[in-house]
């Protein structure tokens, strides 16, 4: 059960990153109700960001490993989003914090071949957090550097919860295949 003693974090201003397709019909700060995301249920609007450029890029290649060996075939754009997040987010970026909310840390970056199993705990956690906070900061499942993390923001942007003040396109990095943890086929 979550309460005020749970590991909540208020980011305030945060610069974070995400990728979009080069001809995406949506702006990079658009929230959406994708059913395939780690914390999604097909109804919930979400916006996923990573704490660094490489982490955001790794997320693309985790989903689409066929592009890893020749990164010139797909064309993705990476954006830096200047977020304003006055609302609180559950922080499960460390083993201790995950333990404090009763979730096994490894399940937050699970890699089962069955999608329903892979995301079961994360989606259950999102159901509990959404009425109490505006997002979850969680460990990256895609990038294998020591402690990369990501943030999922829930719902529509607002001045009380979260909003994107501005965004800037930055150069898309080349990432080493060994740095990406791929989703099993």
């Amino acid at each position: 059960m979550l309460d005020d003693s749970s590991p909540w974090v208020t980011f305030g201003a945060l610069r974070a990153y995400r990728y979009v397709r080069f001809r995406s019909p949506w702006p990079p700060d658009a929230e959406y109700n994708d059913s395939s995301g780690r914390f999604n249920n097909g109804i919930r609007f979400t916006l996923y960001v990573a704490d660094d450029v490489m982490g955001a890029t790794a997320e693309f290649y985790r989903r689409n490993p066929e592009f890893l060996d020749d990164q010139s075939i797909a064309d993705i754009r990476v954006f830096a989003l200047d977020l304003v997040i006055p609302g609180r987010c559950l922080d499960v970026r460390t083993q201790a914090y995950a333990h404090a909310v009763g979730v096994t840390f490894d399940r937050l970056r699970s890699n089962d071949s069955n999608e329903a199993v892979r995301y079961a705990e994360c989606r259950a956690l999102a159901e509990v957090v959404e009425p109490l906070g505006c997002g979850i900061a969680f460990p990256s499942a895609a990038y294998v550097t020591p402690s990369p993390w990501c943030l999922v923001l829930f719902g529509r942007p607002s001045n009380a919860t979260w909003r994107c003040a501005s965004y800037t396109e930055i150069a898309t990095p080349i990432i080493s295949p060994s740095e990406v943890r791929q989703v099993p086929a």
């Binding site: 999604n40 066929e66 064309d75």
Partner: protein, 179 residues
């Protein structure tokens, strides 16, 4: 020696044009019910010199005025334009048709069967989604790329008729939430 015709023919007196109806005459209208007077239907005789093949070709052209047929040709041309980097023969394999027949479809000298509607629609959607991520100029490279979810290349899957599987891969490209 002078030829004698029996009976003698006077071309000026019995010219066939004299037997044609006078086009200046309007149809007679009944005074009772104002309905036009019925006349015997004119027998349709194909003009001499036109072959059955030409009639069939004209009928095919006529079918092409059908909006659904036009849409099929339009979609096929979009799909062919999207297959940059594929040979014509490879495109024919993907569409499950002989290259010569594909050429006839594109030149509208043969109609595209209605049974191809679903394949054309799926290929069109697949290419639309693909080209939001992969530039048109890289289409051929992508079609020959090993995709783990397909256990092979998209080209192999398309030729094997697994268009649905390839479409699902391109639908996944549209999703950008973290997993």
């Amino acid at each position: 020696m002078t030829a004698v015709l029996d009976p003698p023919v006077d071309l000026l007196e019995d010219h066939p044009a004299d037997r044609l109806p006078d086009r200046t005459q309007v149809p007679k209208v009944s005074k009772i019910d104002d309905k036009p007077v019925r006349t015997a239907p004119t027998r349709r005789v194909p003009p001499t010199g036109i072959t059955g093949d030409q009639v069939a070709k004209a009928m095919r052209k006529l079918r092409h005025t059908n909006p659904a047929t036009q849409q099929r040709v339009h979609t096929l041309r979009l799909v062919m334009a999207g297959f940059e980097g594929l040979t014509f023969e490879e495109a024919a394999l993907v569409l499950g048709v002989q290259p010569k027949r594909l050429a006839r479809w594109l030149h509208e000298t043969d109609s595209i069967p209605r049974a191809k509607d679903s394949v054309l629609a799926d290929l069109h959607e697949m290419l639309r989604l693909l080209h939001q991520l992969v530039p048109l100029s890289n289409t051929g490279r992508w079609l020959r790329l090993h995709v783990p979810a397909l256990n092979g290349t998209p080209l192999e899957a398309l030729i094997a008729g697994r268009i649905g599987d390839v479409l699902r891969v391109t639908q996944r490209y549209a999703e950008s939430s973290f997993v």
